[in-house]
């Protein structure tokens, strides 16, 4: 039974996109994945509107003071099993990390399963990252 669920989980990822003070560039690249060129719905990946429906949290941006508690709430609102994917260099630390209002890196706030670096990462890189997560599951 567990194996069946895991098999299904790998083929049907519902993604919730959390913008944790990103510059909006990563977010646009994420939306690229849904366009005709990449069309991740082929693999059953859909964007959902509520963390309660999600399996994957895509977090973008250097986490700032305002968003950190919300991020924790969103993480808790997501039902298990869940995966956190950090998109871009922001969540792991780049030129913004010493900013007065940034409390990141992201893994100080919530556990992260995979980082996909790039500023912003290419859609291909994101797909490759998701595949790596799936292997880990």
């Amino acid at each position: 039974m567990k194996r069946l669920f895991r098999w299904a989980l790998k083929r049907s990822l519902y993604v919730y996109h959390v913008g944790a003070s990103a510059c909006n560039n990563c977010d646009i690249e994420i939306l690229d994945l849904l366009t005709p060129k990449f069309d991740v719905e082929r693999f059953g990946i859909v964007l959902v509107g509520s963390p309660r429906h999600a399996d994957v949290l895509l977090v973008t941006g250097a986490v700032n003071k305002l968003i950190a508690p919300r991020l924790r709430e969103v993480y808790e609102a997501t039902p298990n099993p869940k995966v956190v994917v950090a998109i871009g260099t922001c969540p792991s630390g780049n030129i913004f990390q010493d900013s007065y209002n940034v409390v990141g890196p992201l893994d100080k706030i919530i556990p992260v399963d995979i980082y996909i670096p790039g500023c912003p990462p290419k859609p291909e890189a994101m797909i490759a990252g998701i595949v790596k997560v799936l292997e880990k599951l």
Partner: protein, 312 residues
């Protein structure tokens, strides 16, 4: 009459839960695939809706803080049970028209109201402000589409002079389908628009607008509850076209291969119509939807009714 085992089989396996769930999920796939094609994408594989359901069943179910436990878990199930019952009844009336009973059409109409009603209650029970907003929108939407929907259905009642669904099927099999008359076609169009709203598809997806209120009623549903919601929607996507076919398109003849092929053809045509409407329209606001249904659509339905009474 049926004995208890037979009833259980009819309800749970064929033509009840299992059958309508499988066909409904396949229709969901058709919907997603056609949508993808319209948007120049490839779209999900055929088994995707089934995989989604399996996955959701394996996930954690979260009870939000402050939610009413009983209503939150019970009402989605009630909606699923109601729509499954409609499916069972429709198939029985189509296959054995003599099993019909007085007022069965009214029973079906009431049962069709059950899924939206139970979702409204579950939405309120989850105590999420966005879910409450979604539920109140769904309520207004229901008020607006029920009037023309019932008028359109009663056009058929006026034409067949009976409230027996079995009767309507037999009459149509001898005299041709009701769609081929002036009042029939108008009533069919009205019913099709109302079904679009009943399914919560664009342009009437006001209640679960993903972009503004993040799923509305279902915002707090996780895991198995979401699976139940998806199953309910999938079965509705199957049952409502079957309901239209029964009333307007001459019912279903399952005893000949030609009859089954005809049914599949009719079903696919209605499904495609629904999906094409869904993909070519923007979402209305709730007040626009109300004005649309109580204005133009009701006028159309009344015209159909008058035509039917005159005998066209």
């Amino acid at each position: 009459m049926f004995d208890i085992l037979e009833v259980l089989f009819l309800y749970l396996v064929f033509p009840g839960f299992l059958f309508s769930a499988v066909v409904g999920l396949l229709s969901c796939w058709v919907d997603r695939k056609v949508t993808a094609k319209v948007q120049w994408r490839v779209g999900p594989p055929m088994l995707q809706p089934f995989i989604d359901i399996i996955k959701l069943l394996g996930k954690e179910v979260i009870l939000p803080r402050g939610a009413y436990k009983f209503s939150f878990f019970f009402f989605p199930l009630l909606g699923l049970a109601g729509i499954t019952l409609v499916s069972t009844m429709l198939w029985i009336f189509n296959v054995f028209p003599d099993k019909t009973f007085i007022g069965d059409l009214i029973v079906v109409l009431y049962l069709l109201m059950l899924p939206p009603l139970s979702l409204i209650l579950a939405g309120f029970a989850s105590k999420n402000p966005l879910a409450t907003l979604g539920a109140s929108r769904e309520m207004k939407l229901m008020l607006s589409y029920e009037l023309p929907f019932i008028l359109a259905i009663f056009t058929i009642v006026a034409k067949s002079h009976s409230l027996l669904m079995g009767n309507m099927v037999t009459v149509q099999s001898t005299q041709g389908m009701y769609l081929l008359s002036a009042s029939g076609i108008i009533a069919f169009i009205v019913a099709l628009i109302c079904i679009q709203a009943k399914l919560g598809f664009v342009p009437f997806d006001i209640a679960d607008a993903e972009q503004e209120i993040a799923g509305g009623i279902i915002i707090e549903f996780s895991g198995a509850l979401l699976a139940i919601y998806k199953l309910t929607k999938a079965i509705m996507l199957f049952v409502l076209p079957v309901f239209l076919i029964t009333l307007f398109l001459g019912g279903i003849n399952v005893f000949t291969l030609w009859g089954i092929a005809q049914f599949i053809l009719k079903y696919v045509i209605i499904l495609t119509l629904i999906v094409v409407i869904k993909n070519t329209n923007p979402r209305l606001r709730i007040d626009q939807a109300l004005r649309f249904f109580w204005g133009k659509v009701t006028v159309l339905a009344v015209i159909a009714m008058v035509l039917a009474l005159v005998g066209w």
